[in-house]
Symmetry: C2
Subunit: 491 residues, 2 copies
């Protein structure tokens, strides 16, 4: 079955598209730009949600739910926000259908036109800050630390499953604070929560940094980002956390009485990750045989496959397999025993490879005789024969080894594909020949950034938080620069 997948070398983009569909993660729906997330893909997303939700709660956040629809006029209230978001969006203009009098089926009832159009939320700052106005009077009402799990819609013209879809699922945190310092601290805390999640669960190394002005969220004073590198050398923005200053408080007139009885505007942050993370997860680790999933996010961590020629053999294997499954499950390992008689072992092997199940245990008649089992790990495709008595302990070690190994592999790739560049020629050449992150000096201006983008399609992914002070000259203009920033072509 691996053969059904275009190889990465041949056509990376096609490999990705095929993989998402063939591993049954998602598919395009009949509605332009909207996807159907299939059960196997959704199970991974659910695992991500659960871990992130726990992390949000441990850092003091609560969940709530705000309306899907936002009055059109709200988007005009924050000047830069409207430029960024109000353009490509789904607009609800009517609230009723009716049977056509001329028998042409159902039509929109022209009499049911809304006085003010409603926008399907592309992000919820406006409706949430409109709501916070009533919740905040005094410093005693602060901070507000709220997160929302929701669907949002941005009318994208070019869509790709998980990476860019018109409707997607996400979480958006929206916090309100009494001081600038506290809001900045929150912004930084949440980007580190995302980085920790990427590293410890997705096994995906990321660069934490700040966005340049050009790439900032519409309405933010500062945007922090985590940037991951995909196997084709392109970067993928995987999560962002925004310091919004008092922009939304001013737009929606949200003031509070301080301890000193003065009136101040409230300070805001927002932060989010989306089903785009699924795209990152898929591309970070997978190979030409299919998905490679980190054990901590794999819906099925271990699959047991019987190899048999007759019912008697199957019965004997099944008896042991069910016992083994129970033992593994008692160790919090999710296990599937696939005893379907409609498919051959070879098909099953390829299918679970395609689906990225971290550990496969095959049991044949000879294994039953010798009290052994064949264990295969998905990341390296290595196989080993081990004693049945050792399986549970071995699987536990193996799952943690795989989690670590794929992280290290991805980290090695990231390091090998992060290159210091000091000339414009080398910059252009490396982008085309190697890709990856290019650490280069930049003069700090919007104009230069735009010219570089126009010339090469590379953007500043971030100014890394750990970038060292270093005097240098902008690769494009030669003007002075004090630290290197990371450029890349990006998803």
């Amino acid at each position: 079955m691996g053969k059904f997948l275009t190889s990465r070398a041949e056509n990376y983009s096609q490999w990705y598209n095929e993989l998402v569909v063939k591993a049954e993660l998602a598919e395009n729906s009949v509605v332009r730009g909207s996807m159907v997330i299939k059960p196997y893909g959704y199970a991974i997303w659910e695992k991500m949600q659960r871990v992130l939700d726990d992390m949000f709660k441990r850092t003091g956040h609560e969940n709530a739910y705000f309306p899907l629809f936002i009055p059109k006029s709200f988007f005009s209230k924050e000047a830069s926000h409207v430029e960024g978001f109000a353009k490509e969006c789904a607009v609800v203009t009517h609230y009723r259908l009716k049977n056509d009098e001329n028998g042409k089926g159902i039509i929109v009832d022209p009499e049911a036109k809304l006085e003010e159009e409603l926008i399907v939320r592309p992000t919820s700052e406006t409706i949430i800050w409109h709501t916070y106005k009533n919740w905040i009077q005094s410093y005693r009402d602060l901070p507000i630390l709220i997160n929302q799990w929701a669907n949002v819609v941005r009318w994208e013209m070019r869509t790709r499953l998980f990476l860019r879809t018109a409707e997607f699922l996400w979480q958006e945190g929206h916090t309100a604070h009494a001081t600038k310092e506290e809001a900045i601290e929150e912004t930084e805390q949440m980007i580190h929560v995302y980085a920790e999640f990427a590293k410890n669960y997705m096994a995906m190394p990321v660069i934490i940094g700040r966005k340049s002005e050009n790439e900032r969220f519409a309405g933010a004073l500062d945007t922090y980002t985590i940037e991951a590198l995909m196997q084709d050398g392109k970067a993928l923005q995987s999560g962002t956390s925004h310091f919004l200053g008092q922009n939304f408080a001013k737009a929606f007139d949200v003031k509070f009485t301080t301890k000193e009885s003065t009136q101040e505007y409230v300070w805001a942050t927002s932060w989010g990750v989306s089903t785009r993370l699924m795209g990152a997860l898929i591309m970070a680790h997978s190979d030409d045989n299919g998905l490679v999933l980190p054990p901590k996010l794999a819906p099925i961590q271990v699959v047991i496959i019987p190899i048999y020629k007759n019912q008697e053999q199957l019965d004997q294997i099944s008896e042991y397999a069910k016992k083994l499954k129970a033992e593994l499950e008692a160790n919090q390992i999710s296990v599937k025993y696939d005893n379907r008689d409609t498919h051959k072992p070879g098909y099953k092997f390829a299918d679970y490879e395609l689906k990225g199940v971290p550990v496969r245990i095959a049991l044949g008649p000879r294994d039953m005789e010798n009290q052994t089992a064949e264990i295969a790990r998905r990341d390296t495709l290595e196989k080993m024969s081990i004693n049945q008595a050792d399986i549970v302990a071995r699987v536990i070690t193996l799952l943690s080894d795989i989690q670590e190994n794929i992280y290290n592999k991805a980290l090695k790739f990231q390091l090998e594909n992060t290159t210091k560049v000091d000339s414009w020629e080398e910059f252009q050449q490396l982008l085309d020949e190697k890709g990856g992150f290019l650490a280069a000096h930049w003069d700090g201006t919007k104009e230069t950034e735009e010219k570089i983008k126009d010339a090469t399609k590379a953007t500043i992914r971030c100014i890394p938080l750990n970038a060292e002070d270093e005097e240098g000259k902008c690769i494009f203009t030669g003007n002075p620069s004090h630290k290197r920033v990371l450029f890349a072509r990006a998803y």
Copy 2:
């Protein structure tokens, strides 16, 4: 603070509206008919979701996600479905806004009109069956057992928080089966899952039954329902499970090859509960002091409140309170220690009563001296002084007592308010004077049901699954009937 709530006797409807807002469960949003679910309300909904989700998974279901938008034409494909759902709904007609050339702010771009309007899903049968068509070829692809957690929109004219809102949150199960029998079995299984959830978690007794033809889901051959009785004697439909026959398979041409190589249409079910359950939960148990929550769904099960005159006393109490909190938490009990110095104990007592926290522990200086604590239970408002050494054991017992007690209380109320009625005069009189479920004979016709509804506003809530065979005469027409059905005025 209890005084801030209108009493149920005075105005039940106002009591409910005030309670939802003052207990910080939800509030009306600026968008007509849409609510904001506040953190405390959402925390209860999350607990419901978690329990239900586990129950769905234990019965073999997986989660997935389908698009928010449905092409308008899909609604014409199933004849009765369109009548039921396509009328009052949010219609997306455009996909872009732009700056008005005359400086009038942002307007809908007339050039960005969709070729076919999109409907914000009021329920997802159509888009899901359109998708299933590609997933189902053979009997080997069946059954499909999928659930979706999502938001849906129905443009209701009269809305009330949780009970009827334009946008609401819900889960919708959509299953596909090879045989009629299996689909009916699934339909029945899921209504029993809902009834079990209502009983064991919400502490809410329900009647399980079938809907009459009039009250069936648009597109269903049979609708099962769970009906609960609220304290004002009105019924509340709390969950439904539909046997859809082959209606949607025929509408979307979904056939499969049987084991015998014939082609058959697929059999379908759908089933759902929504944030409406929050309304049921609130109304089933609460009193004039506020919410009464079943311990199994209470976000905070125990609150500890210190009573002190000086910092020294507070320090002493806090030291013990934190130890107690940890001990209770080690027993999987959620605890809040409220040591805010901005509010007095009396205020806190009333506030947690309003919020329905099942158990309150008050600790004062004399308690510290005597190694005692004052424990109060929310359901009966009883207080007792107990030894600190016994607290954990006592709280565990108390939580399970409260869960049981409020169920029994609600069951007693339901039984006392279910009345057998045999004459039309008595029927009308009881509806006005007592309310509740009226068990009466009905001739089985649509016409009679409608006439009774027109005359009294009472509808047939269900034909209970456990209704006994009994010969009788329809209370309205006098025509023969073989079993009693349950009438009530309803939410």
